[in-house]
Symmetry: C2
Subunit: 391 residues, 2 copies
């Protein structure tokens, strides 16, 4: 199979290296603006013009690893419309533009795969799709951002302060120069949207999903949670409740004995619950050159080999019409704040003052309400951190 790679960044290189060892895949064209350092021998297959790829009838499949929405979306559409299969690890693109890409693919007969967009090297979306063909998914949840896990695990392990660990994570290449997409939860949010839409055949949009990150956490939270024998993790959450879908992103304080609390460094742990198979979890590297590159190439091999886990007949798993509605998402939270206003007063069950800080546990409160209070505190410049209390 002849393929092209758009973008020779970390994942593009990982895909290129994996393609070399996988066998049966030939990278015949690479889109890059410049010569790629360390890959000078590929100069003659490098082009900066997407038309050289979209217009090349010999190319069966295109890997897009440019990242971001533009020009990734436009390049993707051009290639897909030309009938080329399309594989991408680009979560921004799939979270925002999947419907448009899928419509183009259905028209041209191309296949689209995006396993690496959520879970990186973990075959999470792949297995989720496979489980769906003979089961009904009821919940997907998990740790899907390695940067946040590295930060939270380091804070728990070493007692360090958030800002110091973030600097360390940047130095080690686990966090980007601008870490906001990771620590504010946006990256987790995109992976949540992709996972939920696949799991539930839903049409959830990023802007409709409540999301609270870990950027307001402090070592005081870690210390207090430790005294409760808990550890925080940033979690994607998506579950069916009747004919509604609850989908949100927030920190969760797990008992130390929970599997999530045992997830170290930058690893990911992603879980599904389904009617027949019960609970099933997938653990591994959620990012990195070779893991993500391999995940991309696995998708390529699946397309080449015709692996398609859609049920073959109309019978069997029925398409569910589930709508996002977070009203029934209600639970208790841990909450740290510097003052207890009337809004907080209404929801707390217990509170303890240490120095000038209040550590509280709330009554069961809706995710929507809790996030609203926490986001308001942040925009007002007030100290606050929240974490759902896992049972």
């Amino acid at each position: 199979m002849k393929i092209a790679i758009l973008g020779m960044g970390t994942v593009g290189k990982g895909a290129y290296e994996t393609a070399k060892t996988a066998g049966g895949i030939e990278v015949v064209r690479i889109l890059a603006r410049h010569e790629v350092e360390g890959y000078e021998h590929l100069n003659e297959i490098i082009t900066s013009d997407i038309a050289d790829i979209a217009g090349d009838k010999d190319i069966d499949l295109v890997i897009e690893s440019i990242g971001g929405i533009h020009p990734a979306r436009e390049y993707a559409l051009e290639c897909i419309k030309a009938g080329k299969h399309f594989v991408t690890p680009n979560k921004n693109l799939i979270s925002a533009c999947y419907d448009e890409l899928k419509a183009a693919a259905d028209e041209s007969g191309a296949e689209i795969r995006f396993t690496a967009t959520a879970g990186g090297g973990i075959p999470w979306l792949y297995n989720l799709r496979r489980t769906k063909r003979c089961d009904e998914i009821q919940e997907v949840r998990g740790i899907v951002n390695g940067t946040c896990n590295f930060i939270l695990d380091s804070m728990c392990d070493k007692g360090s302060e958030f800002e110091d660990v973030l600097v360390l994570a940047q130095a080690m290449g686990y966090a980007e120069a601008d870490p906001s997409a990771d620590i504010e939860g946006t990256d987790t949010l995109r992976k949540t949207v992709i996972s939920a839409n696949l799991a539930f055949d839903a049409d959830v949009k990023e802007e409709d999903v409540p999301c609270y990150g870990i950027d307001t956490i402090s070592s005081r939270d870690i210390d207090y949670l430790k005294s409760m024998e808990r550890a925080p993790r940033l979690m994607m959450n998506a579950a069916v409740n009747g004919n509604k879908l609850c989908v949100y992103v927030e920190p969760v304080a797990f008992p130390m004995t929970a599997m999530e609390a045992s997830v170290k460094f930058n690893f990911n742990l992603i879980t599904l619950n389904a009617r027949d198979i019960g609970t099933q979890s997938f653990y591994g590297q959620g990012a990195g050159m070779m893991p993500t590159g391999q995940s991309v190439i696995q998708d390529v091999l699946d397309i080449r080999d015709g692996v398609n886990h859609t049920p073959a007949s109309g019978e069997g798993v029925e398409k569910r019409k589930l709508k996002l509605d977070n009203k029934s998402a209600v639970h208790r939270y841990y909450l740290r704040c510097s003052e207890i206003g009337s809004e907080i007063e209404k929801i707390i069950e217990t509170s303890e003052k240490k120095g000038d800080v209040y550590y509280c546990s709330t009554k069961p409160v809706s995710v929507i309400k809790m996030h609203e209070i926490a986001h308001k505190a942040k925009s007002d410049g007030k100290e606050m951190f929240i974490a759902a209390l896992a049972e």
Copy 2:
């Protein structure tokens, strides 16, 4: 696709139920000696004569869920030789007779799948095979026996004695009336042989693998390990060391913060390490009617859809010629015994006497040597329990 099911026990029923919802699979014949309670409506497709199935040209695929070696092996061979694809959750059969079944299948053009033989409902062997097509597996390990995990977790959680938990496990259906295959490690051993042979293209035989179970554990071990902040789990172990393979089954004492220590109830957690993808783990139900039944039907769907993760070309992952050789498998152990003879004296580093019991940590000692000492103690009727000390 028209299929037959041999044996309507727990897994046979689970496969039947899953086939009904999966779509595109029709169960046209069932092998059973009697009418199946609750399935009287199937009486007209039930036969007790394997020739009715092996000789039926309309049947494309046979699921064998009789269990054990005889007559499962003979029935399997008869069906495979008749060109029928073959799927089984029967670990005894695959561990002992895979080569014979595979040779018959290669001759007749049939496919063989056995994902449910190790990990039950977990797509462990499936993903292991998929990873292999573009990576090199270096290690497989894990908790693959739910009965033992239930016993160990209950002992840790409730402080109960081994015998009491075993009775409870039997009452709850987690352990069989004769629990020896589980608690002595034989079940784990078979899953280890199957996993290692698939992972490493090896030819490991059950009788060559050192195996020590949990049947000699006592609540005193749990208490002492707790004081070391450790919890025991029965583990399959198989790893490449140069051009040798180390393969063995034994209890391992994990730090409480290890993911294995967080595995509750009868769940399984199975891990691979590979050159590019790094560490990847799979968690879920290792047994049970619907999980195992679904795993069997997933194999059926894969055969129907031509999903085959073998590399397409001779290039890429090369077939390794690895031979079992446990000489380099050396590590420290926790050891409880009632007397320290000269053999034990030689290997212990520290020991503590409490009442009439010695609790020891050993120097690095070979798995072969340690198992030899522990098996000898058992056959001499002496008290002893061992657990490898995980780093």
